[in-house]
Symmetry: C2
């Protein structure tokens, strides 16, 4: 896992080589190269490995996924959105580079990500698969994915919402990209049959679990543990898994969801220690 | 030309079909379906036609180009950037939907555009060409294109800059997308040889000319003529072609650049009344 993280970081560093105008590349690098768990790209790589594929086929897409994730964080943190000062243990992008550059750094990352996939995925990968991976990438990014989740999340602030709406937010803001990461790994590895969908389903559950864990840690965690200001959600009167279900049920649900993610792997004979570990780690970090 | 505009508008309307969450799709529709000249998509279609290609091959990319253009306008108009209240004769996106939705509507458009190209370009178009069109699309969008130009533009406010920097802004903020539109039309029409590059060069010049015309009209135009607040650039102490060269030279240069754009068409035997008309119209509108 450590080696994969190093591989991802080295490639992100390469893809984000400093160019003119320096300021925007520095802003992109600042957020993308910040200390992160790289969970989404790790899942993409491991998903490919679990399907018997070459991880070099997936490395560009894995890096693109991290870029997209960072783009969404930079824009989410803006004063007009969640207005966050800290992220990944450092000041947010707009706090360092100003709001204009932060907006543009997000746009630039969203534009660079597909170029990385197109230019750096090995020629051996079928072009039809590559195009469908790009299509799903942008589905996860846009109004049917992360953006859609964020929109409903903003609209729901200071309002009572039902459980369907809450689940929509959770699945779209976080679930879609995890789902895509796992599925893209399988597709780019050349997996056919039921594996891509099984891994998509695993990814979706992991994303859901990850957000529940995040909501739990917003209540129980420290700034050192989570790398951002804790207690922010309740201060903003945000709907979170915890505000909906309470800490106790949140913890139980988290455990059950991660168990069911692992069961999907078992049922589909997907052998990967790391994918199991990821599910277990989410639980361990949030449930003390 | 009128029929092409109707075709573009009908397809934009279709691609932007209202979905849940409505608010974001409405915001996207508000800016994209606003009255616009559709100059970039028109150039893409006509470029394909001039290469003897089927415009249906280019229609999705043409619409994607308009979406990208609108995305850049929505983000440029934000209070943290140019802080504009009017655009295309109506209130700017954030004035109607708020800043958060405006940021997200831009992100959603940038994510929808490639999906339109991937899903709606006819199967007959070679997948390698499609991937290279997507790559060039995002080059025009990102830190080596529109975003790069906007970054240098922001950094240059209230500062003296040299002519190289000024030209960088002009070519990237405006030129790149025009260049891409003309080139993509040729590529998707299956053109080979020198035509794609010749059309790219035509597009680049038209983009340059278009920005000069815009700068002239910011000084001499009315809000009715230009659909946005005039005099804004000089109020913001912005570097414009006019602030650099004065009105008289701006007008002469505009005429010369449009003539040289037409000469490229002639030299490469590219027959298209509309591409000539576009060059002439830019001059006619700005030089009274």
């Amino acid at each position: 896992m450590k080696r994969d993280i190093e591989l991802i970081n080295a490639h992100l560093d390469k893809y984000l080589e400093l160019r003119y105008p320096n300021n925007i590349w520095e802003a992109m690098r600042y957020s993308v190269l910040a200390k992160g768990k790289r969970l989404r790209p790790l899942i993409a790589l491991e998903s490919a490995r679990a399907c018997g594929g070459d991880i070099n086929n997936v490395l560009p897409a894995a890096c693109a996924i991290e870029m997209l994730h960072c783009q969404s964080l930079i824009h989410d943190d803006l004063p007009c959105m969640d207005n966050d000062d800290y992220r990944r243990g450092q000041l947010t992008n707009h706090k360092v580079y100003g709001e204009a550059i932060a907006v543009l750094a997000g746009d630039a990352l969203l534009s660079l990500a597909p170029r990385v996939i197109i230019k750096h995925t090995p020629d051996s990968v079928d072009k039809k698969i590559l195009l469908s991976v790009l299509d799903e990438f942008f589905k996860a990014a846009g109004a049917m994915g992360i953006v859609g989740g964020q929109v409903v999340d903003i609209q729901s602030e200071n309002r009572e919402i039902n459980i369907e709406t809450f689940n929509y937010i959770l699945n779209h803001k976080t679930g879609e990209l995890f789902k895509f990461a796992a599925r893209a790994g399988a597709l780019l590895a050349g997996a056919t049959g039921e594996k891509p969908d099984a891994l998509a389903s695993y990814g979706s559950k992991i994303g859901y679990a990850f957000q529940i864990a995040d909501d739990i840690l917003d209540v129980t965690g420290t700034i050192d543990e989570i790398g951002k200001t804790p207690g922010k959600d309740s201060k903003l009167n945000k709907n979170t898994y915890v505000s909906f279900h309470g800490i106790e049920k949140s913890e139980t649900d988290l455990i059950n969801i991660c168990e069911s993610a692992k069961k999907i792997l078992m049922r589909n004979k997907i052998k990967s220690g790391l994918l199991y570990d990821i599910a277990d780690n989410i639980v361990m970090k949030a449930v003390k």
